[in-house]
């Protein structure tokens, strides 16, 4: 279960709309405790796939380290990643699975003709065989914010 403050959900959707028709991407910072995961802040990133930004996204090791530092500075964990699927369902592709890591939450937001639609979250099975859906629980009135 991933608790996601409603204003951060809106920021992910807005990022997807802003970058349309390209894929947007970013990191999710938060806490991972016995009661589940909670996103506390976002760390929007630049899609580094200049050659194919409409159907691919890429986060470099340097961006990864920057996101890790941003999390550490706030005493948070790097919980996972979000990206958009322009004009495509909010389901992970085979390409997503091949490049995914276990443990992280992967949020996908579909953006149809520039309008953000469905938002889903996924976890990779430990044996890398498939993604399983992760329940997203909206949190209202949380006091969190965007970094970077």
């Amino acid at each position: 279960m991933l608790r996601l403050p409603t204003h951060l959900e809106r920021e992910i959707r807005d990022h997807g709309a802003k970058d349309y028709p390209y894929e947007c991407c970013g990191a999710m910072l938060g806490t991972d405790g016995e009661t589940g995961r909670e996103v506390r802040a976002l760390f929007p990133l630049i899609n580094r796939r200049d050659d194919s930004p409409r159907n691919r996204f890429s986060i470099t090791p340097e961006d990864f380290r920057a996101a890790e530092r941003a999390a550490a500075e706030r005493g948070l964990d790097l919980l996972g990643w979000y990206h958009s699927h322009p004009d495509h369902p909010a389901r992970p592709s085979e390409f997503d699975r091949e490049h995914a890591w276990p443990w992280y939450s992967y949020i996908i937001v579909s953006v149809d003709a520039g309008v953000p639609k469905v938002l889903t979250s996924w976890l990779l099975e430990d044996d890398r065989s498939k993604f399983e859906p992760e329940e997203v629980v909206p949190l209202k009135n949380a006091s969190t914010g965007t970094q970077g």
Partner: protein
Amino acid sequence: MAVKVMIPTPLRQFTGKQASIECSAATVGEALGNLTTSFAELRKHLYTDDGRIRSFVNVYLNDEDIRFLDKEHTKTKDGDTISIVPSIAGGLAATLKEIENQR
């Protein structure tokens, strides 16, 4: 040579929650080999089926990407730190041409 291998968060579940592992190795490749021998479940996340380091797994010796050194043959010395740094990637299943053909 005694080296320390830093484990990224997603892989710590396969190392008994340890964030770093100390081992003895003369090269980066040997250190990673020792690591995946001790923690077999790590292997499929670091290597392809034909034994190459996955393209989205970056390995650093101290602050240098080993791709710009001698790759897995890069020699280590006492006190070195090896970091496994994930690249994050993904995207649509279809190629751009296929997407345009759907319109």
